[in-house]
């Protein structure tokens, strides 16, 4: 890590406004992301999607956010004005979501959307943006960029749609990419291809990656570090290579309850949730690989 | 796992919000209560509820509230302005306008009630049948709906009223005949979406008949949007009824129907404004109340909340 961490999150608390009071989503989360791949794994209700939205300040107005630090390099994301955030979103931090069907504008061709993404952040001309967009389509290994440029989102397959999303999100050359379940809506073979692509692009551009997923296999096989989230708190943070030796019972439980192809088990071990985990002290301090 | 006995509820509020209802009726009441609490949070919706409640109370307790007969004429006290004795003044035949407004609420309520019980079942029936069975049957029903939809409401109502003769019942019939098509369309659209759900497939797999599926599954899911639509339409229905009354095709004199009152008071509009204006305000307030309620209900039934 040459210039220090890319993203610093310290003691982040987020609560949504529910019908009968605040609903806590994150309760004191701290982690650091450098030019590496960090995976955040958690089940539904753990708050993992909230992290991505919070970093980009895309939460609803009614949500309450507080943190000791939330910085991209030296830029304080908490204090930045909305105008400053608009220049950060896309230009310095980008986010890829789960289903391209919902993230792409259905009435604009995919090529134009990518070109627009470029124009917004660089002020280039339409022709220049188109050229860049075609270049980007090639970079995401789409074989016929000219033809795909003029397709509408509903005319492309799921895997290709995600490639288009990645092209759109990486064209402004951000420093950090947040991927929230980018492959969950895809078939397993397409998933593999897409991950190889993301890997290559991240490496080449020396970007940081936050991969959010409920799939611990995916996160473990793809990321350098794994952060395990439960009920809005970090249970454990460790190197992906050391995952088998996880110490927290929740992580161990998650790993144990996976069905494995090459091993026959009459019954899958069940995860019993210990209520004491809800109040566990912040474990993120331990084992941060940055 | 043994059945957990919930602790004895302290208040009705607790019982209605019980996490684990103990019976079918408690469960249903829980849902209604939750909807009511959601509605209460919206102050505009609450205003709407208050207005409508006031309307109902007026109608029920008319004789106590009015204090005078709406039909008692006193030709020596014609066109008197609002005073302590006649809160809203008197009309051209010396009748107390306040009393006529109060008794008129009964007619308004009657019209609303009759139209609703015709329009809702007919619209839902046609809509769900068309949406569920599809094909030629759907096409046939929808073309009939289109025919009724093509006529402008007031004109259609006028034609029916003119053909059937004036009177409240015929006015109600005329309004109902023109009002049901949008509900059929709404019910059909909802049915077509719901039809593809997994729980419908599951119940088909169990061998449920089409009737059971429509009645037990689809209709309850269509009801919220249809009811919201009806409350929002209510204002329009009241206005058409008033319009018919105004044109002499609805309620007949000496009935204290508000539209009729506006009509007979219009020759005195400049000097004795209260004769026509006050019933007009009454129409406005009730329509507005229904609009507010309809808006509030729509927020309550919004799928986001479910």
């Amino acid at each position: 890590m040459s210039e220090g961490p890319l993203l610093t999150v310290e003691d982040l608390h987020v609560a949504y406004r529910g019908r009968s009071g605040p609903v806590p989503a994150l309760r004191g989360v701290s982690f650091i992301v450098g030019r590496e791949r960090v995976g955040i794994v958690g089940e539904s209700g753990s708050g993992k999607s909230t992290i991505g939205l919070t970093i980009l300040r895309l939460l609803p107005q009614s949500a309450s956010v507080s943190a000791k630090r939330l910085c991209l390099h030296d830029t304080d994301l908490m204090a930045a004005s909305e105008r400053a955030m608009r220049s950060i979103r896309g230009r310095r931090i980008s986010m890829v979501l789960q289903d391209p069907k919902y993230s792409l504008n259905p009435v604009i061709t995919v090529g134009r959307q990518i070109a627009e993404s470029y124009k917004v952040h660089s002020g280039a001309s339409t022709r220049e943006a188109r050229r860049k967009a075609l270049e980007m389509l090639e970079a995401v290994r789409i074989r016929d960029p000219e033809r795909v440029f003029d397709l509408y989102p509903h005319e492309v397959s799921g895997g290709m749609g995600q490639r288009v999303m990645i092209a759109m999100m990486l064209i402004p050359e951000p420093e950090l990419l947040i991927a929230d379940e980018p492959t969950s809506a895809l078939d397993v073979t397409v998933q593999a291809q897409l991950l190889v692509l993301i890997d290559e692009l991240i490496r080449r551009r020396r970007m940081g990656l936050i991969l959010i997923s409920h799939n611990i296999n995916l996160v473990a096989s793809f990321c350098d570090r794994v952060v395990v989230l439960y009920a809005g708190r970090i249970m454990e943070s460790l190197k992906a290579s050391e995952l088998a030796a996880a110490r927290h019972p929740y992580t161990q439980g998650l790993l144990a309850c996976r069905p494995l192809i090459d091993r026959a088990q009459p019954e899958l071990p069940q995860l019993t949730r210990d209520p004491s985990w809800l109040d566990a002290p912040d474990e993120s301090r331990r084992g941060t690989g940055a | 796992m043994s059945v957990e006995t919930s602790p004895k509820p302290v208040t009705w509020h607790d019982w209605l919000l019980a996490e684990a209802p103990q019976s079918r009726s408690q469960a249903r009441l829980t849902r209604w209560y939750a909807n009511w609490l959601a509605l209460k949070r919206n102050p505009l919706a609450v205003s709407g509820v208050i207005i409508i409640l006031a309307l109902i109370l007026m109608a029920v307790f008319a004789s106590w509230i009015a204090g005078q007969s709406p039909y008692a004429q006193l030709l020596t006290a014609r066109l008197e302005p609002p005073s302590m004795e006649h809160w809203f003044g008197t009309d051209e035949l010396g009748r107390d306008i306040f009393a006529r407004i109060i008794y008129g609420s009964r007619i308004t309520l009657l019209i609303i009630f009759l139209v609703s019980i015709v329009v809702l079942p007919v619209g839902i029936l046609i809509g769900t049948l068309a949406g569920y069975f599809g094909g030629v049957f759907d096409m046939f029903l929808m073309r009939i709906t289109d025919i009724f939809l093509a006529f402008p409401r007031l004109v259609m109502a006028l034609a029916f009223a003119a053909a059937l003769g004036p009177g409240i019942e015929n006015a109600v019939l005329a309004i109902s005949i023109t009002a049901w098509p949008p509900y059929a369309r709404l019910a059909r659209a909802e049915t077509m979406t719901i039809r593809r759900s997994d729980f419908i497939l599951a119940t088909r797999m169990q061998g449920a008949s089409a009737l059971r599926i429509i009645w037990s599954h689809i209709v309850p899911l269509c009801l919220p949007s249809v009811i919201v639509r009806l409350t929002l339409d209510m204002a329009g229905i009241i206005l058409i009824a008033a319009g018919l009354g105004f044109l002499g095709l609805g309620a007949q004199p000496p009935a204290p129907e508000w539209g009729l009152m506006v009509s007979s008071g219009r020759s005195y509009l400049l000097d004795q404004w209260w004769v026509a204006t006050i019933p007009g305000i009454a129409i406005f307030v009730v329509s507005f109340g229904f609009n507010l309620l309809g808006d509030g209900l729509r927020d309550v039934f919004d799928p986001k909340g479910l």
Partner: protein
């Protein structure tokens, strides 16, 4: 118990005709858990619906418990086979309480002792009486799926069809539901036909597996062979590789921050 002969399911006609399932044949013995695995669009869900009587066969026939069944079935035939769907949020009517959801099949089939059966069904799937009068939105995904399973079992079918029953659930909840399904299958001697895109789940649950690709079965094999990686067809091998890579890397990568070798 289940015999499928040359089943073909098609949509549309003329030039727009698509065969979602093409001449598929397989058998499942009584008490067996048979798996159908493949990626999206391979026709596995369509085939399941054909067995369920929800999709008509263009060609071929299906025999359940020795009786040939078509798209319109008698009440007894309907009682024979039930299905658990993928989406726990869509498979329960949001305006019905759990009690109503469970008593409806009993009412349709004309069975008695509704009260007793409902309580028993809830107990069997691990839900207590406090859930009985709740609405679906008051239950978690795992609990809804349990209700869906209870609904499927309450009329005592002999065949249970499972359409990706756990793909919408968290990992830990998936483990509970899979264990529950196995236990129930054993207890009632059910024949189960399970569809999934997740090879690990299929391998855990099923004794025999059919791999589908573009509407056809490309390979049928026993689970032991799958576990040993002895697949014949290249598509099966491709699926295996893609699934195993992720698990193996997650467990045995000892090279620090090396990239996963996902090249093929």
């Amino acid at each position: 118990m289940i015999e499928v002969h040359e089943a073909t399911v098609a949509y549309g006609d003329g030039s727009g005709r698509i065969e979602a399932v093409r001449s598929v044949s397989f058998n499942a013995a009584a008490g067996e858990i048979f798996g159908l695995v493949g990626e999206s669009g391979c026709g596995k869900s369509t085939l399941l619906r054909a067995v369920a009587g929800l999709a008509p066969l263009a060609k071929g026939h299906i025999v359940l418990a020795g009786r040939e069944v078509g798209i319109s079935r008698t009440r007894q035939e309907r009682r024979l086979v039930q299905m658990v769907f993928q989406d726990p949020y869509g498979s329960l009517n949001p305006t019905h309480t759990v009690d109503k959801i469970l008593s409806e099949p009993l009412a349709i089939q004309g069975l008695d002792a509704i009260d007793r059966r409902v309580i028993q069904a809830l107990q069997e799937v691990g839900l207590g009486g406090q859930h009985r009068y709740r609405y679906p939105h008051q239950l978690s995904g795992g609990q809804r799926q349990r209700v869906a399973i209870a609904r499927a079992l309450i009329t005592e079918p002999r065949i249970l069809l499972l359409d990706e029953p756990t793909s919408a659930l968290d990992l830990s909840v998936q483990a509970e539901i899979l264990n529950l399904l196995k236990r129930i299958g054993r207890a009632h001697g059910l024949t189960m036909l399970m569809v999934s895109h997740d090879l690990a789940v299929i391998a855990h649950m099923c004794t025999r597996i059919a791999v589908m690709y573009q509407g056809e079965i490309v390979e049928m094999l026993e689970v032991q062979r799958l576990r040993r990686g002895e697949a014949d067809h290249p598509y099966t091998r491709m699926l295996l590789d893609a699934s195993l890579e992720k698990t193996r890397q997650g467990e045995r990568d000892t090279e620090g921050t090396s990239s996963p070798s996902l090249t093929r």
